[in-house]
Every structure is written in structure tokens, then in C-alpha cells.
């Protein structure tokens, strides 16, 4: 073992390397432990935050996945619903009358009571009844069983979100209304099935009827348009810049600007779209088509950057091999480099689209936060998107929208997680070694 002289010591004392190392060993190990603890702490903190987020969403959102319904035997009174006046008629009166016949202590001639009874049912109930009768006018004069949503306060009551101990004047439901509901419960007329309306209905002013159908279809069209525009354009631009463009000041400038574009706040793209697409080109407001074009502006830089990185990662030996057997430049790029870069390109694209799916600000600026009660039938119809629908619901005063907002966020997160999972799957499946 070699002896070393400690440089800072003036004396003739000599120490072995092993002794010097041993002296510093404890300090080095301490630093390493500290680093590990800090790292672990950071990850734990991140997980804790994620857990709190998901837990709070689930705890308030799970109520929205069920909806309280009431099953009634409805006598369609020909006096209220005369055949010759269809589709008009007193369907609400028919429903109120059938409720009154079920409940005790109700006087069919007292208008205030009857109005309160009507408040038990969802506002949509009379329209469902009307639709059924219009479809089959023979029902007039018969008694049919109907299951319809109850209105939001009763839904809240059934889910335990209204405290019965609260003094009556601070409660949304009066004592007699709660008593009605308890009667109906006792008669097993109340059920709480899975809330298919959350997916199957479009937006509504009434929480018990509001659903995400319009937002889902709007988001689908917007993403579809975004993909169709940004994927080919982004890949084309990346291939040109990476493989064909001469390396000079101009291409440097282009590169810097693409990186800058990827960092531009999305609300700026929204303003641009408002001015250009809607202002100049006169495209319709609130349309998923315009939303998709706006999102494409944002997604394109992401796709270009991901594609260029993927192209760069293809080893030069593959290019040389192809050039060596006499492939032309485009044959090298399209026959060899692009297929090898595809997993990386797809991953980047899906992550870009997932980002676009959650983007809210530019869609607000082009009017995709309008209140629209029917699902769009094409990309040019007015629609909302998932994030803007969340924005609208979060802004609504009705109690029922609180849980619906959380539920919509969970749906959005579900789509995002699915898209990211697909991108990981594609990357693993098509990744090749060379």
C-alpha cells in the first residue's frame, strides 16, 4: 500500500490512503443518506398531494354517479291531456295528481300543495311523459308506470347531504316535504340507480338532468380535428427541419421559434383563434371545429419537438446503411428513419393530445363555454368540451353541481390516464433495439 504525505500538514507525519478515506467516509455516507431521505420525502409529498386530490374528488364526486329516481303509477287523465291538443297538455298536472294519490295529507284542490308536489319531481319528468304519450297516443286514459328523476333537493336529501337537524327556515326542504319523501321511501317508490344520465344527457339547468354527452362529443370532435391537422403538419415540419433543411441562421431561427411557440400561454392561442378563425374567416363560434384548430396550434409545436427528438435518436448507422445500398434521401427517411422513430412520435403525439384535451383557456375565448342543452351533431355545431363543461358546472350555484363537477373531473382524468397508458403501451410494443 502506498503511503501519502498529507499535503496540508507541514510535519513529516505520513498517513495511509486508507486512513484518509476512512476519515471522510462517515461524512460522505451522511450526505448520501441525506440525499436519499430528501428524494424519498419529495416523492412521498407528491404522492400525498395526488392522493388528497383524488380522494377529495372521489368523496364529493361519487354522489353524482347515482341519481335518485321515483317510480309512479301515472293515470293519464284525458281531461288534462286531450288527444286533439297533443303535444300540448297538462302533463305536469297529471304527474302532480298521481303523486297526490300516493301521498297522504294532500289536497288535490290546494294549489300551493300541488305546486310543492311538482317540485318533488325533476323538471324533465313532464317532458319524458309527454314524449311517451306523443309516441303512443293510445296511452291517454291509461295508467302507466314511470320512473323519473326526483329534483335536486330531494336527491340531496336521499344522499344524506341535507341535514334533517337544521332548523326548518335554513333548510331547502320544509318538514312536510321531508315527510312526503319519507312516505315515498316507506312505499319503496324511491330508488337510487346508476346515473346513466351523467354520460347520456347533454347539459341542463337542472343538476339531476345535466350530463356530459355534449361535452364528450364536443371534446371528441375538437381532438379529432386537432389530430387531423397537427399530426401530419407536425411530422412534416419535423421531417423537413431535421432531415432536409440546410443548417443555417434561418433554420436556427425557426427552431428557436418553435420552442418558443411550445411555451406560449394557451390563452394567447385562444385570442389568436378568436381574431383569425372567427373574426377574419367567419367560422362559427363555439364550434368544436374551431376549437380543434385552436388546439392544433398548441399541439403542433409539441409534436414537432417530439418528432425531431425521435428522428434524432435513430442511429446514424441505419442511415448510412441505407445510403450505402443506394437509397435516395426520401427512401432513407420514409423507409427506415421514420418507422424507427414512430414509437417516439406516437408517444409525443398522444401526450400532446392529452394536453389539448385538458386545455380550457383557448376554448373559453372561442365560446365553447356556452350553455348548450343538446349534443352537437357535427364539428360545426355549437358545443362545449370536457374542461369547459367542468368550468361551467363549477360556476353553477345549484348544490347538485358540486358533485357533478367532481364527477366530470374524474371522467376527464380517466380519459387522460387512458391516453397516457396507450402511449406507454405503444412505446413498449413498438420499441426496437438495433
Amino acid at each position: 500500500m502506498a503511503d501519502v504525505t498529507a499535503g496540508t500538514n507541514p510535519g513529516p507525519k505520513t498517513v495511509s490512503t486508507a486512513d484518509v478515506v476512512r476519515a471522510s467516509l462517515a461524512r460522505r455516507n451522511r450526505k448520501q443518506t441525506l440525499l436519499q431521505v430528501l428524494g424519498l420525502g419529495a416523492i412521498s409529498f407528491a404522492f400525498l398531494m395526488l392522493f388528497i386530490l383524488i380522494a377529495s374528488l372521489v368523496s364529493s364526486g361519487y354522489h353524482a354517479f347515482t341519481q335518485t329516481h321515483i317510480t309512479l303509477d301515472v293515470f293519464i287523465d284525458p281531461e288534462e291531456v286531450p288527444l286533439e291538443r297533443l303535444p300540448r297538455g297538462g302533463f305536469d298536472d297529471v304527474l302532480e295528481a298521481s303523486l297526490a294519490s300516493v301521498l297522504e295529507d294532500t289536497d288535490p284542490n290546494d294549489r300551493a300543495t300541488m305546486r310543492a308536489l311538482g317540485g318533488l319531481l325533476s323538471n324533465g319528468a313532464q317532458f319524458r311523459l309527454r314524449d311517451r304519450v306523443v309516441e303512443d297516443p293510445d296511452l291517454v286514459g291509461q295508467t302507466i308506470a314511470m320512473t323519473v328523476p326526483v329534483s335536486d333537493p330531494y336527491d340531496q336529501l336521499n344522499k344524506g347531504l341535507i341535514d334533517r337537524e337544521t332548523p326548518e327556515q335554513h333548510r331547502r326542504l320544509k318538514d312536510f316535504e321531508i315527510a312526503w319523501f319519507d312516505q315515498l321511501m316507506a312505499k319503496e317508490a324511491i330508488s337510487k340507480p346508476l346515473n346513466t344520465g351523467l354520460i347520456a344527457n347533454a347539459d341542463s339547468r337542472f343538476p339531476e338532468l345535466a350530463g356530459l354527452k355534449g361535452a364528450l362529443i364536443g371534446s371528441f370532435w375538437a381532438l379529432f380535428v386537432c389530430f387531423v391537422i397537427s399530426f401530419p403538419l407536425g411530422i412534416g415540419a419535423a421531417i423537413y427541419l431535421e432531415e432536409f433543411a440546410p443548417k443555417n441562421k434561418f433554420s436556427d431561427l425557426v427552431e428557436v421559434n418553435i420552442n418558443n411557440l411550445a411555451a406560449v400561454p394557451s390563452v394567447v392561442f385562444g385570442l389568436l383563434a378568436l381574431a383569425v378563425f372567427i373574426g377574419w374567416f367567419g367560422l362559427p363560434r363555439s364550434a368544436p371545429f374551431v376549437g380543434g384548430m385552436t388546439l392544433a396550434l398548441m399541439t403542433m409545436p409539441t409534436i414537432i419537438i417530439a418528432t425531431r427528438a425521435a428522428l434524432k435518436a435513430v442511429p446514424p448507422s441505419i442511415r448510412e446503411a441505407a445510403l450505402g445500398v443506394g437509397a435516395s434521401k426520401h427512401q432513407v427517411v420514409f423507409g427506415h428513419v421514420l418507422p424507427l422513430a414512430m414509437p417516439g412520435i406516437l408517444t409525443g403525439t398522444i401526450i400532446g393530445l392529452a394536453q389539448a384535451l385538458g386545455e380550457t383557456a383557448p376554448l373559453l375565448l372561442i365560446g365553447m363555454n356556452a350553455f348548450i342543452t343538446s349534443a352537437p351533431s357535427g364539428p360545426f355545431d355549437s358545443a362545449t368540451a370536457l374542461p369547459t363543461q367542468i368550468f361551467i358546472w363549477a360556476d353553477s350555484p345549484e348544490r347538485g353541481f358540486v358533485s357533478r363537477t367532481s364527477a366530470a373531473i374524474l371522467v376527464l382524468l380517466g380519459f387522460l390516464i387512458t391516453m397516457n397508458a396507450i402511449s406507454i403501451y405503444l412505446r413498449n410494443k413498438f420499441e426496437r433495439s438495433w
Binding site: 440546410p246 448507422s317 441505419i318 448510412e320 446503411a321 441505407a322 450505402g324 443506394g326 437509397a327 426496437r432
Partner: protein, 266 residues
């Protein structure tokens, strides 16, 4: 060491000039990589380029099929004629040239495709086969010339990247000959291979000499002595000496050549 000299005894006088280079200069940006190189490379002959690292032998090799075109900062001056045609003439497309001048690289670089598709790629893009049967025939003939047919004939549709290093390099040689080139350039083809695979590739190179003009860059003087008939010694971008292999190793004219082959520079 001179045990490997067996192949140089063969007759080389009858060959014609295949490649004629005159006053070739190559610049990488400001670096003058090749300085005024003039050389005649013969047909049906193995010509070895030797020299220390950075002497420009690979750079010069890559001039012969214009692979330097793919490097933005490289500039080539001077004349290179193959069969009397100026390969840097604007009317010559590098694609056309590279179909005629095949290349094998230092590191085996099969495409991440099947063995069959590796070989068939060149003939396909150049349209050399009209039918599937013709293509099959080209693939088999090329793999036989690459001395690898027997090892892969039962797994033509497995990926070429799954072969061993030596097999991959022979596959790359087979791929290079599949387009029926007239010149075969080899840039240190054995540097990534073990001695057994090296011996197989060297035997193959000697075999290829019957049909092609082979130019091989090598770091190994023993390899140059074993496989080549003519040897060119490069030093600092200059072509120092270019003679028959036997003469260059036994009786070098230039003091720098002697220093290199005796191990004093390099």
C-alpha cells in the same frame, strides 16, 4: 506475422484501372483532411488503405461513393473517375453511383428487419427483380456470396439484428453485393469482430476479389498483408506510399512507411 502473406503471391499485373483519383482534396470546415491524393485502384484486386488514426484513409474511402456528401461541412476537390466517368460530375446522381459502389461499414449495421428484407431492400428500391422468384434468387445468391447462406437459410424471416456480430457483418456484405456493384468499399469491416469471425470475413474478401474491385480500410497491418494485393499508406492526409502489398511490407521506400509498419508511429 508474415504467415498471412499467402494471398499476395497471386498475379495482379493483368488488372485494369477501375478507379482513377487525381489531386483529391477534402476539407472538413477549416480542416484539410486529404491533401492532394492521386491513386489508381485496380479492378479485381483487393486494395488496402492503412495508416494511423486520423490519417484520412476512411475519409478518402468515403469520397469514392460520395458518402461525404451527407456531411454538411465536407468539401471535396479534385477528380475521381470510375470506369472513366467523373463521379463528381453534376450529371451523376449519388444514388446511381452508390448502386455501383457498395459499402460495408465498421460496425455491422443490418436494418431492423428480417434477414430476407435486409438483402432484398437494395434490389427492391432499384427495381432489379421483376418477380418474387427473381428476388428470392437474388437473396439466395447474395447470401451465398456473403458466405452466410447455410447459417441463415432456415430463418430468412427472422430479424437480422438477432444474428451474432460476425454473422451480421457477413449479412451486411451480402446486402452490399445484392445490388451487383462493381466496387466494394469496406471501412474497417473486422474491427468489431472476434478472430474467428474476422478469418471468415477475410476469406470472403478474398473470394469477392474475383468479381469486384475491393477497397478495404484497416487498422491491422496483418490483415492488410493477408487480404490485399495493393496497399496504400496514408499519413496526416497524404498518400505516402502506394505499391504492391508484398513490397510495402518487406521493402518500404519511404521512411514514414517503415516507421509505421515497424510500429514506431501510429
Amino acid at each position: 506475422m508474415m504467415d498471412g502473406m499467402r494471398k499476395i503471391e497471386r498475379d495482379t499485373a493483368a488488372s485494369d484501372i477501375k478507379i482513377q483519383a487525381r489531386s483529391v482534396q477534402v476539407f472538413y470546415g477549416d480542416t484539410h483532411a486529404i491533401k492532394d491524393v492521386s491513386v489508381d485502384i485496380l479492378d479485381k484486386t483487393v486494395t488496402a488503405f492503412i495508416g494511423p488514426s486520423g490519417c484520412g484513409k476512411s475519409t478518402f474511402l468515403r469520397c469514392l461513393n460520395r458518402m461525404n456528401d451527407t456531411i454538411d461541412i465536407a468539401r471535396v476537390q479534385g477528380d475521381i473517375h470510375i470506369d472513366g466517368d467523373d463521379i463528381y460530375d453534376p450529371s451523376i446522381d449519388p444514388v446511381q453511383l452508390r448502386a455501383k459502389v457498395g459499402m460495408v461499414f465498421q460496425k455491422p449495421n443490418p436494418f431492423p428487419k428480417s434477414i430476407y428484407d435486409n438483402i432484398a431492400y437494395g434490389p427492391r428500391i432499384h427495381g432489379l427483380a421483376r418477380t418474387k422468384a427473381e428476388l428470392d434468387e437474388i437473396v439466395e445468391r447474395s447470401l451465398r456470396r456473403g458466405a452466410i447462406w447455410d447459417e441463415v437459410k432456415d430463418r430468412l424471416h427472422e430479424p437480422g439484428t438477432g444474428l451474432s456480430g460476425g454473422q451480421q457483418q457477413r449479412l451486411c456484405i451480402a446486402r452490399a453485393v445484392a445490388t451487383e456493384p462493381e466496387v466494394l468499399l469496406m471501412d474497417e469491416p473486422c474491427s468489431a469482430l472476434d478472430p474467428i469471425a474476422t478469418a471468415q470475413v477475410e476469406d470472403l474478401i478474398d473470394e469477392l476479389r474475383r468479381n469486384y474491385s475491393v477497397v478495404i480500410v484497416t487498422h491491422s497491418m496483418q490483415q492488410a498483408a493477408r487480404v490485399s494485393q495493393k496497399t496504400a499508406f496514408f499519413h496526416l492526409g497524404n498518400l505516402v506510399e502506394y505499391r504492391e502489398t508484398g513490397q510495402i511490407f518487406t521493402n518500404p521506400e519511404d521512411a514514414r512507411t517503415e516507421s509505421y509498419i515497424t510500429g514506431r508511429i501510429g
